[in-house]
């Protein structure tokens, strides 16, 4: 098994460690705003363990996925800033 997988973040191909959580992978890829709050402010992970819902992103078309509870998978299509 490869140590690195390729995922797509807002259309951009990014290579990330295969064992990483999606939240960690997105941070590694330089994403700072995972989502926009209801008043438009940038937000990123807070609790890292599925409680706060700040790390919500769209994964393969499914909205409101908590990035901290997902493990990256090859070809995963991620949209941030929603």
């Amino acid at each position: 098994m490869s140590d690195v997988v390729e995922i797509h973040v807002n259309g951009r191909a990014v290579r990330v460690p295969a064992s990483a959580s999606l939240a960690a992978a997105l941070l590694a890829a330089g994403e700072s705003a995972f989502r926009r709050s209801v008043t438009g402010a940038p937000r990123a992970p807070l609790c890292g363990m599925g409680i706060c819902y700040e790390c919500r992103v769209t994964v393969n078309g499914v909205a409101h996925v908590r990035a901290c509870l997902e493990t990256v998978a090859p070809g995963m299509d991620v949209v941030t800033g929603g």
Partner: protein, 378 residues
């Protein structure tokens, strides 16, 4: 509290949306109004409801009151603050098959004949305006003048306006009894020329004889999915579910909220005051929603809650004097239409109290009808 020295002209019991609206109308009519509630503003049935402003045609009388009320809401709409989340989204009454489409056409005639704008959509037009609905459906009646809002926000706004017009609100004040010319709070009689019982499903506790029973409902609200649902959508069978006082029924009814959330209803049960989630009913209600809107299956539900509609035997609210006790007026028993009909109720009540001529005939809503009906049957 200010205004204790001068007794109020009117005490409104209950700060739900009906009580708040009544307080506003009475204060604007020049009465000194005191509003009492055991809790705070809009915390009872008002907080549990969906918030539709909808014209309904279960009966001629229901049509008159809802159409009048929706007109009043639309006049008020420009002045509603954002917290009311007013959304002029219109209602779609959907027809699953050709037979229901026929019923939709009859409904269309009834609405337009009574001056309420409506439009029949065929299956394709319906799919175009609500792409998440199951296909094929036969069509729908679009009632563009209907709207939705956030009931506790609206109740709070109406009460704030009432207070601006001179009314006084006292929360955390449970009214133990209504007596001729007074209410009893914490063992002390508070004099009032007029007492308005707007206590919703609890109204019979204060005015024995009011035939109001709690009719339980469940609601579920999703996370934010902007655009998933664009109109209030109701299955044509909803009226039947609402009309028949059967033990248990569910009907498809969803609403888009200003937040992008989807509010999912509805269920009806007669089980007294038990607030526990009935998982069988919840399951059937959600299943009905998925049946009509399959994309909802993947939507995330954040909260489920129950509430109690104040239901009357003839599906009409009780608005007017309660002649069994001097000075007591009733504005209660609105079942699932209290958000819509709060404004019409309040205007009607204030008209009757102040001797103005009401815009619609108040007779069908007179509380005493239930007594005469009971005596007829007795």
């Amino acid at each position: 509290m200010s205004g204790v020295a001068v007794p109020p002209d009117a005490v409104v019991v209950g700060a739900g949306i009906v009580g708040a609206a009544c307080a506003l109308e009475l204060a604007r009519a020049g009465l000194r109004v005191l509003v009492l509630d055991a809790g705070d503003v809009g915390g009872g049935t008002t907080a549990a409801g969906m918030g539709h402003l909808v014209v309904m045609d279960d009966s001629e009388e229901q049509f008159a009151l809802t159409a009048y009320s929706v007109r009043l809401w639309r006049e008020l709409a420009p002045s509603l603050p954002p917290e009311c989340e007013f959304d002029p989204c219109g209602t779609l009454w959907i027809a699953a098959d050709a037979a229901q489409l026929e019923a939709v056409r009859r409904k269309h005639e009834a609405y337009t004949a009574r001056g309420v704008a409506a439009e029949v959509l065929d299956g394709a037009a319906l799919a175009a305006c609500e792409p998440a609905l199951r296909a094929p459906l036969a069509g729908a009646l679009l009632v563009p003048g209907d709207a939705v809002l956030y009931p506790p926000g609206a109740a709070r706004h109406l009460l704030a306006e009432a207070c601006r017009a001179g009314a006084v609100f006292r929360g955390g004040s449970r009214v133990d009894a209504i007596r001729p010319g007074a209410v009893v709070v914490g063992g002390r009689a508070l004099p009032a020329g007029i007492v308005v019982n707007a206590a919703g499903a609890a109204a019979p506790e204060l005015t024995p004889g009011l035939p109001i029973v709690p009719r339980k409902g469940h609601l579920a609200i999703t996370d934010r999915y902007p655009g998933l649902c664009r109109h209030q959508i109701v299955e044509l069978g909803y009226l039947q579910s609402a009309h028949e006082m059967t033990a248990e029924s569910v009907a498809f009814n969803v609403q888009p909220r200003r937040t992008g959330q989807v509010l999912i209803g509805s269920s009806r049960e007669l089980v007294g005051w038990d607030p526990a989630t009935n998982r069988a009913v919840l399951g059937r209600m959600l299943e009905r929603a998925v049946h009509f809107m399959p994309a909802l299956a993947a939507a995330s539900v954040i909260r489920v809650w129950t509430g109690f509609r104040p239901a009357t035997p003839d599906k009409l609210p009780l608005i007017g004097p309660w002649e069994e006790m001097e000075g007591v007026w009733v504005a209660a028993g609105h079942e699932g239409l209290g958000i819509t009909t709060s404004l019409g109720t309040a205007r009607l009540l204030a008209d009757l109290i102040t001797g103005r001529t009401p815009a619609i005939d108040p007779a069908p809503y007179a509380p005493m009808r239930v007594l005469s009906a009971a005596r007829r049957h007795g």
